[in-house]
């Protein structure tokens, strides 16, 4: 039977939200396969995570070492490459740690790698069919791979519903497998996120701009609208990359998570990293020239228009009232 392992990220003693989503994905691949969770870190936080995971997974493998106090793919990758049984399928959330670890793990284990999976079509014989998105989410694709020898898959957060835990799994301490860690990459420190005079996570109204704003000087258009609505301007990643606004104004998984009453996404295509930052917003309005932009899948109200024309009209109408 296919053996499935789920590598679980954790922070401050709490397992990542995707843990139980990985269980659902595992069941979609092989409905009756017991799933072993893998956690790496150091005590005592790691013990709390392992115990919590034992409530949901049949088994939990715990890799504990002071060298793993901070996630370090360079240390844990070779350990897993030798500890995992041949033929096993490894699942991970598609997060920044998985991007570090998963591709190399697939090479070291000589198994296929499929990243950022959003759906599982199921296993037919040894052939697994999966769903991915390409071109910034504008198109989807079915991909297939033979998993007879095992595989490494990373799964997009929120794509699978969290499973109910099966209860009382056993914890297996695998720390002895770590050995003398390779130290070719050494963690030094975590630099905190920038702060700004405005905390966009606390605002009720956000006028958020993306690539569609075109030019730095056009940001004024969004500022005028935000002022008229009594909100502030936020932005998507390309605006920060262009250095037009501070990172503290960026909405998304690599920026801020926001939950305003109203979120106006202006000229934002809606990458999944951006959508991850607005999950809690009750009312999302998207204005974009491309009717196929992924943002329209997440929005409550959509308007196909050029924001450079539409926003000034909206501002004028609001101020005129």
């Amino acid at each position: 039977m296919t053996q499935i392992f789920a590598y679980i990220a954790h922070k401050d003693g709490v397992a990542d939200d995707t843990a139980l989503e990985l269980l659902t994905a595992a069941a979609a691949i092989a409905p009756n396969a017991p799933v072993t969770a893998i956690v790496a870190g150091n005590a005592p936080q790691l013990d709390a995570v392992a115990e919590a995971l034992a409530q949901g997974f049949a088994e939990v493998w715990k890799f504990s070492s002071d060298s793993l106090a901070q996630p370090n793919a360079e240390i844990i990758r070779p350990v897993l490459a030798s500890a995992l049984p041949a033929g096993s399928i490894v699942l991970m959330g598609h997060d920044t740690f998985a991007m570090d670890m998963a591709p190399g793990l697939s090479i070291k284990r000589d198994v296929p790698f499929v990243s950022d999976v959003v759906g599982v079509d199921g296993l037919a014989g040894d052939v697994l069919t999966l769903v991915r998105q390409e071109y910034g989410g504008q198109v989807s694709a079915h991909v297939q791979t033979n998993v007879a020898g095992g595989a490494v898959l990373t799964l997009r957060a929120g794509s699978f519903a969290p499973a109910e835990g099966a209860g009382s799994g056993q914890i297996v301490d695998k720390s002895g497998e770590i050995g003398e860690p390779a130290m070719r990459r050494v963690f030094l420190e975590m630099a905190a996120a920038e702060v700004d005079d405005v905390d966009i996570s606390k605002e009720d109204v956000l006028v958020s701009i993306g690539r569609g704003i075109g030019d730095e000087e056009n940001i004024e258009i969004a500022q005028e609208l935000a002022e008229a609505m009594g909100g502030v301007v936020a932005c998507s990643r390309p605006i920060v990359d262009a250095r037009w606004m501070n990172r503290s104004r960026q909405v998304g998984t690599s920026g801020q998570t926001v939950k305003p009453k109203v979120y106006l996404a202006c000229g934002i295509s809606g990458s999944f990293q951006h959508l991850g930052g607005i999950k809690g917003s009750p009312f999302i309005v998207a204005i974009n020239t491309n009717p196929k932009a992924p943002i329209f899948q997440a929005a409550d109200v959509g308007i196909v228009a050029d924001i450079l024309d539409f926003l000034p009209e909206l501002t004028e109408a609001i101020n005129g009232e």
């Binding site: 740690f97 190399g104 989807s140 420190e189 899948q297």
Partner: protein, 260 residues
Amino acid sequence: MDILVCVKRVPDTSTNEIEVNDAGTDIERDDLVYSINEWDNYAVEEALQIVDRVGGSVTVAAVGDDESDEVLRRAMAMGVENAMLLSGDAFAGLDGRGVATVLQAAAKTKGIDLILTGAQADDGCAQVGGMLAAMLDQPFASLVNMIEVESDKTLKIGREVEGGEQEISRIELPCVLSIQTGINEPRYVGVRGIRKVASVEIPTMDAAALGLTAEALAPQVERLDYFTPEVGAGAEMLEGSTEEMVAKLIEMLQAKGGMK
């Protein structure tokens, strides 16, 4: 520091509407505007800036068809001295592992201290850099948004992690880094710069030149089809004149508390 930067020619998603063709076998490629993969552009700029500071050389390599020479020339117009086009019939239909295999073979043809790739490309797989590092048995870091050269043995790097934090580490050379957007401000490439390098000869290497067999390049992951993503509940699309849409939207915003 001798740096290899891996670049890819891709449809520009910021200017194109990507659609699936009628047969679902590919995207509609007529009229697409192509450019250098956005992440790779930052990687090229970063390599040039490192060499400006500490000396050395930059080589760009692309796996692709003859038209990929356009992104190599663009990098040369930015100031890169050397380019390699990795092209040939055996490279059609490669998966990410196949691309990494080709790049690994090419990297071995030169003395390289540091390899930079973009963090991801149009397919969003984010895999080639990590695979390449593992094949070369070198340390790797993804989503790098800061590089400081400490010595000829180590770099101090920053990685972007969730929530806007930056993970700072020291990494040994030689190594492979995948570069996140925003690490620098890529320089502007003018038409004059492109013209200047238009006739430079770019060496091309195929599978035979790199000593690669068809077996080593056989894809492990195959794309079956393309289809248009299912739209969830979907948005209520407003229609009509701008005036009508504005009026309707204001009404909705007032109802949702989005107006003070």
